[in-house]
Amino acid sequence: MKVARTWAVALVGAEGECVEVEADLSNQQPDFRIIGLPDKALGESVQRVHNACANTGTPLTRRRLTVNLSPASLPKQGSGFDVAIAVASLATETSMDAASVASAVHIGELGLDGRLRPVPGVLPAVVAARRAGHRRVVVPHANGPEASLVDGVEVLAAVNLAQVIAWHGGDVEVTDDEPVALADDEEAPEPSLDLAEVIGQRDAVEALVVAAAGGHHLLMCGPPGAGKTMLARRLPGILPELDDRAALAAASIRSLAGSRVVELSRTPPFVAPHHSASVAALVGGGSRVVRPGAIARASEGVLFLDEAGEFAASALDALRQPLESGAITIDRAGAHAEYPARFQLVLATNPCPCGDYGIRGGTCTCPPAAIRRYLGRLSGPLLDRMDIELTLTRVAVAQRGAGPTVSTESARAQVADARARASHRLAETPWKVNADVPGTWLREGPAAPSPVVRRPLDAALHRGALTLRAYDRVLRVAWSLADIEGRAQLGAEHVGRALYLKKGIAL
């Protein structure tokens, strides 16, 4: 055979694109070249494949091999093409089942000894292969459990190249090698945090449940020691478990970020970047290889920015567009990547640098300019996108012994009930939680509130206290409050309470 073909996957952002790897054998001096916009790591594949094939007992041909990665105009990165290149190259000469080779997708890096080494991003790659209609996938042994998470794909988790050749019907001696393991970075399981540990702060706990029920963004402002971080860390615990699609999306991003993925975690991700994070660290980026940022890793879960006032204003404002669209598109000279950004934002901040501004019993020592500068980091457009703005106070001594408030278990049940009611109401629509529902549907859809119920909102809008976007956000929160109470209709009390949660406006 002169030309052999097989498949690999190039990752562009969180999406994979199938790449046809074709190898041509021409009767010329020994030479081995790869064309089709490879980067440096992929270009060096020449050496790895050459030695891996020799050490497997099937040396490459002593003629000219040209390997083309098609579509040729798509830039390709990384070492995950090694196995596909090796198999296509060997198939030009070695007897292998051509149909088997041409139908399989190969993902993995080769060591010089011929063993397959794990690569990041196997899960999204296998998902892409499955979507493109491929049913047979070869992955490195250590990535086997990850690839098996995708249904309807026959996975060969190969230890070495000889196994792959034998799988395609080639005649080669398969040796028993020690599989190359993933770097052992297994994270310690998160200690279970219970909401009952939060003392006092009944209003805040209630607001947290509302935020969880509707998927609303939450801003917490309060003095040090009021329990802002404590509350935020307990939010994933009361969120409902991820469904299949969301769990797969979250696991894909973890895989792309190079984390170990062995099972579909149903717990919503919780990402809390430090306040020194740059714009690129938050939204993702990089000069040539585009990597997912904190908002992509928090997709389907919670992004918690503690000490939000200490973040660079530019970093915070970069969140505005993904907050609205639920996705982030990153453009670079050589690459264009799209990542999901369907996260719930939780901001925590002090009211001023010393933390005592406006707190009963506290004495603020900050100059007025410092206070303005501190809260000025949170720009108007960003604050406008927050659904719930919560002001916390210090816990009074009297509340310390007042007994537990709400446990995580009961809060989660409340949230699950509310979400079930919301999804029942939204059954005819493409949306699932209140936070997703567009304003037009809220204002003019079948469940639109009556003018009487709407009156306080309209008044605030006319006064200029609310923007139209904030108007819609208040309506969404009001629906979450109604869902928690088990009402099928929006009442004036829900709108009033939502307005209070958004603006601190009491009726």
Binding site: Q28, Q29, R62
Partner: protein, 139 residues
């Protein structure tokens, strides 16, 4: 870039004073000449020298004049014979071919000029494995 001059180690020689490697090379060229003759080519020249170097073999049939580079190796310990025909060597072969063709215009006579490579692997060139590359590409 000029290659640094390295003094070659003393070569093993036979009774007539010929180095073993040259004996092997000559035997390989004999084998290649017979191979081309068996295919209907006529040998036009052997070991043609000029200032730039030497051509191992020139053969011709009705349509083509073929300049042949013969590489003989006892085994593949130092790599395949064709690996020794690198871009530099191919460039030189092409210059030599042009030089030969201009010195023997009457022999070329409108036939195509091309370069072939013959690789021989085995201790005895008369029985060694013969590989033949037709129309080697010149960079």
């Amino acid at each position: 870039m000029p290659r640094p001059r390295v003094r070659a180690p003393a070569l093993a020689r036979d009774d007539a004073g010929m180095a073993h490697k040259d004996v092997l090379g000559r035997a390989g060229e004999d084998r290649a000449a017979r191979y081309f003759e068996a295919q209907g080519f006529t040998v036009l020249a052997r070991n043609w020298r000029c200032r730039d170097g030497e051509i191992d073999l020139v053969v011709a049939d009705r349509s083509a004049v073929v300049v042949v580079e013969v590489k003989t190796r006892r085994d593949e310990g130092f790599g395949h014979p064709f690996e020794a025909i690198d871009a530099r060597k191919r460039g030189r072969l092409w210059r030599l071919s042009i030089a030969w063709a201009s010195a023997h215009r009457e022999l070329v006579q409108g036939r195509r000029l091309r370069i072939d490579a013959v690789g021989l692997i085995g201790a005895d060139p008369r029985t060694a494995r013969l590989e033949h590359l037709v129309d080697v590409e010149v960079p």
